[in-house]
Every structure is written in structure tokens, then in C-alpha cells.
């Protein structure tokens, strides 16, 4: 099998100019990932800066309300900057330092990855440029202000659909131009090899903690782990340590948009195999291979592709991928706020909405939702609905 493939998905579909940078990154990462000094440095940041481990919280009232299995939340929303995204950015920023690269670029959709990148760049003294679609800039004003406050620069992207995929295009163009002094921190388990592997590994801290916490709290592994999937980094992080535990059911929730007649953003449910942003994966495209304009109430899920490893897990039936629509996500957003006092990100609300389907599951079972992010950033857009 070719390098960087997960079954028939993955690969390194990039212009040749970037080839050496990806090889350089791959070589460094393979050397460093088991290096004690590097991992100690990373752990130190995770504990004292990010605030790890994140708690595993028993959602008592939600459990009562659903009337099925015991429902638990893995509280990635309590991380510094309010989402799982920081797990990856701190890891990659440390890699960038090892590569001797002092300039960081990143794309962002909801703005969480932009904030998480700008945050660690401030701490480590790295120059930081964030590409963001103009549409997203409008719906995520607060995060734009946060990024600027952290001393990073936001570059608006107006081409194409002016959302996450176009921000990714612009980031790649910047990287092609400045590849020798710049590291590109991709924010999801997408893109060319080795990114899907790197982003998965850094995010898998949540899955590893969850494994230990499950044993501690209910003396066995969870029966089901649920996470929302746009590119799929929070899901891949929480799934990865369980992939070989076949009794643990893994469920990814994609954004269906307004309704079934809408294009939405559910690349695995509604898409077909193709190449986008460096990887062969499931993508939303027309018959000629042009990428479709996606939609979702949640900027972070509004992306026409998905990480190649998710496409693979779906293909081999190891994980299942379900679709939740905007209105269901919004209902869950309010419900979890009122029942548990936790305002979730709209992305996360998609995963929570799926709990409504689980009332028939036995009360002895334990279901964990990865609470990937908090909802502060979405309050403006929910207010304006």
C-alpha cells in the first residue's frame, strides 16, 4: 500500500512544490512521536496550559430525559480556548519549532482552530496568519476579534464560496509560496499525508483519557462513543484509541443542512470518492467532479470533504456515520443548555441531537458524547435566527 493510505483513502495529492515539506514533516514526526523529551514538553503544556485532563461528566438529567442508556460528556469544551482544537495546535506548533519554522499559517471555519492556533503562537512567539472565508468572518465575528487580540492576522478569503474550503485553498497557496519558512497547521484530520495521522494523534489525548476515565467511573469501556464530524478531528481523536475495541460502537454525526433535499455537509452519507485538498476521500461533488457548495448551521461542519480515515472506518463498517439536520442540532443546543447548564458549540449540538435516537438502548449501557466545543462563539448567530 502507498504511504499515507487508509484502505483506498488518503494519499499525498499536492503540487510538487510542497512535496519536500510534507516529507520533511513526516520524517520529523515519525522520529519525534515517541521521543520522551518532546512528549514531556507536550504533556506539560496539556496539563498546565490547556487544562487537561478534561472531565468525564455524567449527564444525569439528560439521561433521565432520554430514558435510555447512561449519558456521559467528555468535556473538551472546558479546554483552554473552548474546544478540542487546541490539542492539535499545541502539538503542531511544537513540531514547527523543531522544524525551525517561525511563521505559522492556518485555515479556519468556525474560528476555533484559528483561535487555538493564534493562542499557541502567542505563547511560543511564532508569527501567525489565519485564512478565513468572508462568509465565516461574518458569522464568527467574535473569534475574528479574539484572533486579532492574540496578535495574529486574519486574511479574509472571498473566492469561491468564501467558507472553510476556500480558506484551505488560500492557505495551501500561501504555503506553496512561503514553504521554506512556514509551517501550515491544518486544523482537521484532512489534507495530504502526514496531516491526517498527526492531527489524529494529537487529538487522541481525549480518547486515551476517556479510556482511563471510563474504567474509573463505570468499570468498563463505553458501549458507544458519539462525535460530530466535519473534517473529523475531534471524532478521530476520541475514536482512535477504541478502534481495536470492537465492542465499543463508534458513531460519527455529519451535518445534514436544512433538510434531506438540501446539499448539507454530510460527505460520507451523501458523497462519493474523490480528491480534495490533498487527500482521496469521500467528498460532495457533482458528476463532473466539481466540488459542491455545502451548507450547515454550523460553520465548523460546513465542509465538502472528510478525513480519509473516517472514510475508511465507514468503508470497513468499523464506525457508522449518521446525519443530523440544522433544526435537530438547534433543539439539542437549547436542550443541553437548559438540562445540564452547558451551552455547546453548534457542531457539538449535532452529536448531542443523535441521543434522541437512543431511548431504546438498555439503561445499563454507557454512551459518551465528545463535547467537542462550547457555544460562546455561536451565540450571535443563534440570536439572529
Amino acid at each position: 500500500m502507498n504511504k499515507g493510505y487508509y484502505g483506498k483513502f488518503g494519499g499525498i495529492f499536492i503540487p510538487e512544490t510542497l512535496s519536500f515539506a510534507l516529507r520533511e514533516l513526516d520524517t520529523l514526526y515519525q522520529d519525534i512521536k515517541n521521543d520522551t523529551t518532546f512528549n514531556n514538553e507536550l504533556q506539560d503544556i496539556y496539563i498546565h496550559y490547556v487544562g487537561r485532563p478534561s472531565p468525564l461528566y455524567f449527564a444525569e438529567k439528560y439521561t433521565e430525559n432520554i430514558g435510555g442508556p447512561k449519558i456521559w460528556f467528555k468535556r473538551e469544551d472546558l479546554n483552554h480556548t473552548g474546544a478540542h482544537k487546541i490539542n492539535n495546535t499545541v502539538g503542531q506548533a511544537l513540531l514547527a519549532k523543531k522544524l525551525g519554522k517561525k511563521r505559522i499559517i492556518a485555515e479556519t471555519g468556525a474560528g476555533q482552530h484559528g483561535v487555538a492556533t493564534a493562542t499557541i503562537c502567542a505563547k511560543l512567539g511564532l508569527e501567525c496568519v489565519i485564512y478565513m472565508g468572508e462568509t465565516d468572518i461574518q458569522r464568527q465575528e467574535l473569534n475574528v476579534f479574539k484572533i486579532n487580540t492574540l496578535g495574529a492576522k486574519v486574511v479574509p478569503v472571498s473566492s469561491g464560496t468564501a467558507t472553510l474550503k476556500d480558506a484551505l485553498n488560500e492557505s495551501i497557496r500561501d504555503w506553496v509560496t512561503n514553504v521554506e519558512n512556514t509551517h501550515y497547521i491544518i486544523g482537521s484530520v484532512t489534507g495530504p499525508h502526514p496531516y491526517p495521522e498527526i492531527v489524529r494523534d494529537f487529538n487522541s489525548i481525549s480518547g486515551k483519557e476517556l479510556k482511563d476515565q471510563s474504567i474509573e467511573r463505570f468499570e468498563k469501556l463505553p458501549d458507544m462513543v458519539i462525535a460530530c464530524v466535519g473534517g473529523g478531528s475531534n471524532a478521530m481523536g476520541v475514536f482512535a484509541p477504541f478502534v481495536d475495541d470492537l465492542n465499543v460502537e463508534l458513531v460519527g454525526i455529519e451535518a445534514g443542512g436544512v433538510s434531506d433535499s438540501d446539499i448539507g455537509s454530510a460527505s460520507i452519507n451523501d458523497g462519493s470518492i474523490g480528491v480534495l485538498h490533498g487527500a482521496k476521500t469521500m467528498i460532495l461533488q457533482n458528476n463532473s467532479g466539481e466540488i459542491l457548495e455545502t451548507s450547515s448551521i454550523s460553520a465548523g461542519l460546513d465542509y465538502p470533504g472528510v478525513g480519509p480515515e473516517h472514510a475508511y472506518l465507514a468503508d470497513i463498517d468499523r464506525a457508522k456515520y449518521k446525519k443530523v439536520f440544522d433544526s435537530q442540532a438547534l433543539d439539542a443546543f437549547y436542550k443541553v443548555s437548559r438540562l445540564e447548564g452547558i451551552i455547546p458549540a453548534l457542531e457539538t449540538a449535532h452529536a448531542i441531537a443523535y441521543l434522541e435516537e437512543l431511548s431504546d438502548i438498555n439503561k445499563d449501557k454507557n454512551v459518551v458524547v465528545n463535547m467537542s466545543g462550547r457555544g460562546d462563539k455561536d451565540l450571535y448567530s443563534v440570536m439572529s435566527l
Partner: protein, 259 residues
């Protein structure tokens, strides 16, 4: 064959003219006219960009042209019929240049087969890495040639990996950046082209940001062909596109022929 054409040029110490157009940009009629005009002007090879929604290696000029053509309803099947008509009238070599996703739908075999039948001589797939050897074999199996990109950042090891796929032509990218960028370092390009010729006998065309006779003068002794892309596309956006293109190309062609 493209490779033979360029070997011939090298034998006679000539530098080929390789214009780039975006399929059906600015519209079908002007595109057809431009294609015919470039053939009549003696193009050795014409690259035809297959419009894609997310052309990550393109600068603003060519990206906008891709989007404009898609907006006008570009469709590959219809376009191949257009190419058939062109090839009935001209024997100019043409390659389809684009992004992997346009070539994989529904499959590389089918797109190769139909492109060959329409008269395409080869493919240049910008984001198809050297590692995808099976894809290159399938392309060649349909009697198409392919062009391999080499960048200023390419390592010798990687170039050799690419050469093992037996490309007909190497396209040397002059700079770190997107098409049409303005970061040309003339001496660096000359040195890299010299180094490349030490590694391989495969003919080399050179492009990205080449837009003046001064550039041609600097590169023509080091390469077998010069690609003119963004600058041409800009001409086609003007109100009198064909004339503007011809006027722009006149000094460039003169410089190319100048011994």
C-alpha cells in the same frame, strides 16, 4: 508524439512555444478562436486548463478564469466534442492540465479513453504525486503521454522517483508560489534548469510567472519550451481579446525565434 516534437526542437537548438488556455474561457467562441490562433502562430504544445472549483496551485488570474468557465456551464463531455472539431482542423499537440478530481470522475480509465478519442495527446495533473504510479500506467495504457512537474523545492531523490514513471516532458516550475506570481529569480531558475539537465534527457518546459521577452531571453537557452499562462489569460479578459493576445505574444515569439 509530444516527446518527439520536443526532442526535435532540442536537436535543432530551438525553444518551443507552449501557451496555456483555460477551457472555454472567456467563453466558448473566443476560446475556440484563441486555440486556432495559437496553432496558427506555431504553438508547439497547447495546455488546456480543465476548470475546477478548487484549483490550489493557481493564482488569482487563472483561478478566476476557472470559476468563470464553470459558471458558464463548462462540461467535460461537451468540451471533448469541441476538441474533436479542433483536432480535425489542426494537428497541434494539446494536453489537458488540471486537478486530480477532474480526471478521476468517473474513473481515470474512462477520462483517459475519452480524452484520447477526442484528440488530447497527454495530461498534466497538477496534484497527482509521483507515488501514484498505477495512475500514470493507466494514462499511458490509453496511449496518452503525461507531463511531470518539478519544483525548485524538489529533491533529487524525488525527481528520480518521478522520472521512473517515464514522463514525456518535464514542466519546471520557476518559483515557489502560484501561477502568475512575481517572484522570479532568473539566476536560480537557470541554475536549476542546468542541474535538471544533468539528471535527465527528458525535454523540459518552463513556466510560472513568465510574461516578458526579457524572461524568455533569460531562459530560452536552458529549456526546451516556455509556458505562457496567466499573462495570456489576462489578455483574453480584455475587450478585444484575440488582438490583445496576438499583440502581447508578438515580441515574445520574436524573442523565442531569435537565435
Amino acid at each position: 508524439m509530444i516527446s518527439e516534437r520536443f526532442k526535435e526542437l532540442r536537436k535543432h537548438n530551438l525553444t518551443g512555444f507552449v501557451p496555456y488556455l483555460v477551457a472555454n474561457y472567456p467563453n466558448k467562441d473566443i476560446f475556440d478562436e484563441a486555440l486556432a490562433a495559437l496553432s496558427n502562430m506555431g504553438a508547439d504544445l497547447i495546455e488546456i486548463g480543465i476548470p475546477f472549483t478548487d484549483p490550489i496551485a493557481e493564482g488569482k488570474t487563472i483561478e478566476s478564469a476557472h470559476h468563470a468557465s464553470l459558471k458558464n456551464g463548462f462540461n467535460l463531455t461537451n468540451f471533448l466534442n469541441q476538441i474533436k472539431n479542433f483536432k480535425n482542423r489542426f494537428d497541434t499537440h494539446i494536453v489537458a492540465m488540471g486537478y486530480a478530481n477532474s480526471f478521476l470522475n468517473p474513473s481515470i480509465e474512462e477520462v483517459s479513453q475519452k480524452s484520447r478519442e477526442a484528440g488530447f495527446d497527454g495530461f498534466l495533473i497538477v496534484d497527482m504525486p509521483y507515488e501514484e504510479t498505477d495512475t500514470f500506467k493507466l494514462i499511458k495504457g490509453r496511449d496518452l503521454e503525461f507531463i511531470q512537474l518539478v519544483a525548485p523545492t524538489s529533491t533529487q531523490e524525488n525527481i528520480e522517483r518521478g522520472l521512473s514513471n517515464n514522463p514525456s516532458l518535464i514542466y519546471y516550475i520557476t518559483q515557489r508560489g502560484v501561477t502568475g506570481a512575481n517572484n522570479l529569480d532568473l539566476t536560480e531558475v537557470q541554475n536549476n534548469l542546468k542541474d535538471l539537465q544533468k539528471i535527465t534527457n527528458v525535454p523540459i518546459i518552463t513556466g510560472f510567472g513568465i510574461k516578458s521577452s526579457e524572461h524568455i531571453k533569460a531562459f530560452k537557452d536552458y529549456t526546451d519550451g516556455i509556458v505562457i499562462g496567466s499573462a495570456l489569460i489576462e489578455c483574453l479578459a480584455n475587450s478585444n481579446p484575440i488582438k490583445s493576445m496576438k499583440d502581447f505574444l508578438a515580441p515574445i515569439l520574436e524573442e523565442l525565434k531569435n537565435e
